[in-house]
């Protein structure tokens, strides 16, 4: 499997890059067109197998062969590759935006590089992504890290041990942090987890704000659990963190978010099975055991939750319906029979044309500040999730 190969390759990125450059150079010497190949990272090249649990790449590749049109891209790729190799060599890390400016600096310093200049960050980002897909390595393995967004975690039982680059270890007991959440890093692989006491479940809440409210009202005091805010579409950090919790602690994990196509596909599916854009690293960045706790279609009726009609006349809202239909037709995750209960939710959304937000639980008993917590616990107890 490709991912295992990536793991094996991991330490050999400089060597792999050197081989690649060697091959291209020797093609040029023979007046042969050198080419670069990368995994095609799109939904139409994604496979899903419930036993594997996440989206994996198919056979399609993107091949860039040298010609007058592609010479710019190829020159940019090797230019950026050299920067990344140097970073690996000296142990420097950067964000994509910083790399964009590093390129600008180098180009400014040498007039010959002027034609390579990037007009905006999208252009340099796509080159970085291409390099990652081409070498089948994570962006993080090229020492390029994204901002740590989302994943703020609260728990009275969890202890995290981090191995620092210099070999030192840092122990973080989450129960000692007071109201401050633990912020998982974008390289969760360097963390070790331990439970001081048996942890019953992990709850991932789509809205950061609602996770904060649950915490303030004593959710983690009353329950032996891990409470986490996803902050919308889960970042690599959140996804890797959830994977780590799943691997090391073996606690049931539930996701609580809005009832609409966007949450189902972009947020929940990404958390559970990864995304098409990150096909080569979904193995380490998805939590296949997470369950969808709500808002479930049944909850809308049962708790008489306020909801909205999806107006087909409004293009932005109509896109939601189209999204649900697209997901049913093209997303291998929702097409898999094992996920029928999840795809049934999409079908229900298309049929009923409504959407319902996670915060609507607060309407059930407006005078009880912990009613939402009670419903969540009740649902977990009853096994009312998908």
């Amino acid at each position: 499997m490709a991912l295992i190969k990536v793991r094996e390759l991991r330490l050999d990125i400089p060597k792999e890059a050197k081989n690649l450059a060697e091959r291209m150079l020797s093609d040029l010497e023979k007046s042969k067109r050198p080419y670069l190949e990368a995994v095609k990272t799109s939904l139409d090249n994604s496979n899903y197998n419930a036993k594997v649990g996440y989206l994996t790449p198919g056979d399609k590749i993107v091949r860039t062969e040298l010609n007058v049109s592609s010479v710019q891209k190829l020159a940019r790729v090797v230019f950026m590759l050299e920067i990344l190799l140097r970073n690996l060599d000296i142990g420097a890390v950067n964000t994509k935006r910083e790399l964009y400016y590093i390129c600008k600096g180098l180009i400014k310093g040498d007039g010959r590089y002027k034609p390579l200049d990037f007009d905006d960050q999208d252009e340099s980002d796509s080159i970085i992504d291409f390099i990652g897909d081409m070498l089948e390595v994570y962006r993080e393995e090229l020492n390029c890290y994204a901002n740590d967004r989302g994943g703020q975690t609260y728990s009275q039982q969890l202890v995290v041990t981090e191995t620092l680059p210099d070999g030192d270890k840092a122990n973080v007991d989450l129960s000692t942090l007071g109201t401050t959440p633990f912020q998982p890093k974008n390289r969760p692989q360097s963390l070790k987890l331990k439970a001081k006491k048996k942890i019953d479940f992990c709850l991932v809440v789509e809205s950061e704000g609602t996770a904060g409210t649950l915490q303030s009202m004593g959710f983690t005091k009353r329950n032996n659990c891990i409470l986490m805010g996803a902050q919308g579409v889960p970042s690599n950090g959140v996804r890797g963190w959830c994977k780590l919790i799943e691997n090391q602690l073996d606690v049931p994990m539930y996701f609580f978010g809005d009832l609409d196509a966007y949450t189902m596909q972009n947020i929940f599916r990404t958390l559970k099975a990864g995304s098409a854009a990150s096909l080569i690293r979904n193995g380490d960045f998805s939590a296949p055991n997470v369950r969808f706790l709500g808002v479930l279609p049944g909850d809308v009726k049962k708790y008489d939750l306020p909801h909205y009609k999806v107006k087909e006349s409004d293009p932005a809202e109509a896109r939601q319906l189209k999204k649900a239909k697209d997901a049913l037709e093209n997303d291998p995750f929702f097409r898999d029979k094992k996920n029928k209960e999840l795809s049934d939710i999409l079908r229900w959304l298309i049929k009923e044309k409504i959407r319902c937000e996670q915060q609507s639980y607060f309407s059930v008993d407006p005078k009880d500040p912990i009613k939402t917590e009670k419903i969540i616990l009740e649902k977990i107890k009853r096994g009312d999730y998908v």
Partner: protein, 552 residues
């Protein structure tokens, strides 16, 4: 209960001038000019005279209403002239028209416009229109002031006198009214003159607008357009109310006779079909005068339920591709152009013909701006409420990017182009009485869209040629710029030596050299295609020039 009073047509319009194009001082001036020019052109065409117009619009003082100027608008033509007896009717009476509802593609249709202009002048400057007119049969010209008697909807002649006039035949109208002058932009006078010139290749016009210098545009065709015979309306275009009103024009005849003479495409067989589709047999020979509303409804429903032949398309006229192509060159220095005249067709049971001229100019417009859109209905420029018009909708629905033009989402394409779209039909459906926008039916929008796409394809050959040229230039530059960097970095990463570097550079040049040869070939191919099209166009223009030569 309050007293119910009946007001005259003139009273109604006098109170509602905004409905017929007099909603602002700017529009008042433009609408007056437009109505006067329409009348002149229609009259010339009717008499098969090549029109020669002299136009003057000038600020002569301060207007009586706040924030307005006193404007003089003069339009003089070489048309057939108007008989003294008709002057009052033409300029001072509403709905007095030789064209109302007769199904011809004339510019004017109802007989509202010029009387409304007279009313506006009268209301703002206490004087109607000053007219001089002479027909061939008159020894001297008549000069008079025409006012509208609003209470009775009749025209009144004042200060009538005869005089010696320089012209053998023609009409000169002069309005003094409150208004304001706008020269450029969608609602500008110059835009109006250019538009009128464009769709009237046979027009010569001298104009003096505001403080600008006198301009003259010569005709490029010596043919007066052949106005096709009038056509009767098709029954499927009617609503019940219109159907009943239409019947009143025919007096006391039988229903079947009314259907056969009042509409097109109804034969004896159709009458039988109507009966099959639910028209009571007793109605066929019933006199219109004795029919109840219920009877009309039954007959009308049966007519609508029956399939009828589509209306004839013979009643429409076109400017023609060659004439349009020559005419558009009068607007400036044309870089290249593309004209399309569609075959007449039926939209919503009405005969329609769509013509499109797209031209790129060297001396007007710019890359980042939207194209200049000129809309025409029956050869009259439409200058207001662009966004609601069928023509605008059709343009925005075309993907101009595929023809090489820039186009922001759901808007007009961009560039130094003039897009002229003309729709001719004896029954154009406007959104309002001031004839500013064409009502957008799906069928009509689709027909316009097709014309635009055809023209777009022709245009794209010119643009593609340019793009191929730029492409080649870019590719050649790419090789020079990026090739050395690629090799240099590959050498650094692989740790190769100088001799390998040199060899790789040679290899690179070979590969990319092949590519640039290919780009050169592509450019040549595009050049050949364009040359072929240009030759075709030149041939067309040549034949048009021949015809024009014959005519003179």
């Amino acid at each position: 209960m309050s007293k119910i009073t009946k007001s005259s047509t003139a009273e109604y319009f006098a109170k509602n001038l905004q409905q017929v194009g007099f909603s602002s001082p700017l529009k008042a001036v433009l609408t007056t000019l437009k109505e006067a020019v329409d009348n002149s052109l229609d009259a010339c065409e009717g008499a098969e005279i090549l029109p020669e117009l002299e136009i003057e619009v000038k600020k002569v003082g301060v207007g009586s209403t706040k924030n307005t100027d006193l404007i003089r608008i003069v339009v003089e033509d070489n048309g057939p002239g108007i008989d003294g007896d008709d002057l009052a009717k033409v300029f001072g009476e509403y709905l007095a028209s030789s064209k109302f509802g007769r199904g011809q593609c004339s510019r004017g249709q109802q007989g509202i416009g010029i009387s409304a202009a007279t009313t506006w002048a009268q209301m703002t400057n206490a004087k109607g229109v000053q007219v001089i007119s002479k027909t061939k049969n008159m020894r001297k010209a008549i000069s008079a002031q025409v006012d509208v008697d609003i209470k009775t909807n009749t025209g009144i002649l004042r200060n009538k006198e005869t005089l010696e006039w320089k012209k053998n035949n023609g009409t000169r109208v002069e309005f003094l009214m409150d208004g304001r002058i706008q020269m450029n932009g969608d609602g500008g006078l110059l835009t109006y003159i250019e538009g009128t010139v464009l769709v009237n290749p046979h027009l010569t016009v001298t104009y003096k607008l505001g403080d600008t210098d006198k301009g003259k545009i010569e005709r490029v065709s010596n043919e007066t357009p052949d106005i096709p015979e009038a056509t009767l309306p098709h029954p499927h275009t009617f609503k019940l109310g219109e159907f009943i009103t239409h019947s009143h024009l025919y007096g006391k005849i039988s229903l079947s006779k009314f259907l056969k003479t009042g509409f097109s495409r109804i034969s004896d067989q159709s009458i039988k079909d109507f009966v099959k589709h639910g028209m009571p047999k007793g109605l066929v020979d019933k006199n219109l005068g004795s029919m109840s509303e219920e009877d009309f409804k039954k007959a009308f429903q049966a007519v609508q339920a029956t399939e009828l032949m589509a209306p004839s398309t013979k009643s429409v006229l076109t400017v023609g591709e060659d004439a349009l192509a020559k005419s558009i060159e009068r607007l400036g220095q044309v870089d290249f152009l593309s004209v399309v005249t569609r075959k007449p067709t039926i939209c919503d049971f009405k005969p329609v013909v769509v013509e499109v001229a797209l031209a790129r100019f060297i001396d007007r417009g710019s890359e980042g701006e939207p194209v200049q859109l000129l809309r025409f209905a029956n050869r009259v420029p439409l200058q207001f409420d662009k966004s609601g018009c069928a023509i605008t909708w059709a343009i925005e629905s075309v993907n101009w990017k595929s023809y090489g033009l820039g186009q922001p989402k759901e808007s007009l394409p961009q560039g130094p182009y003039v897009f002229a779209v003309s729709i001719v039909s004896p029954f154009i459906k406007f959104k309002n009485a001031s004839k500013e926008t064409i009502d957008a039916s799906d069928e009509l929008v689709e027909e316009i869209r097709r014309a635009l796409m055809q023209a777009g394809q022709k245009l794209s050959r010119h643009i593609k040629h340019e793009m191929k040229e730029a492409d080649l230039e870019r590719k050649l530059a790419h090789i020079e710029q990026f090739g050395p960097i690629l090799v240099e970095k590959l050498v650094t990463i692989s740790g190769a030596n100088a001799s390998r570097k040199k060899k790789a550079e040679e290899g690179l040049r070979k590969i990319l050299g092949r590519d640039s040869d290919e780009a050169v070939n592509q450019l040549e191919e595009a050049q050949t295609k364009l040359a072929a099209q240009k030759q075709k166009e030149a041939k067309k223009m040549g034949s048009a020039a021949d015809e024009a030569g014959k005519g003179s």
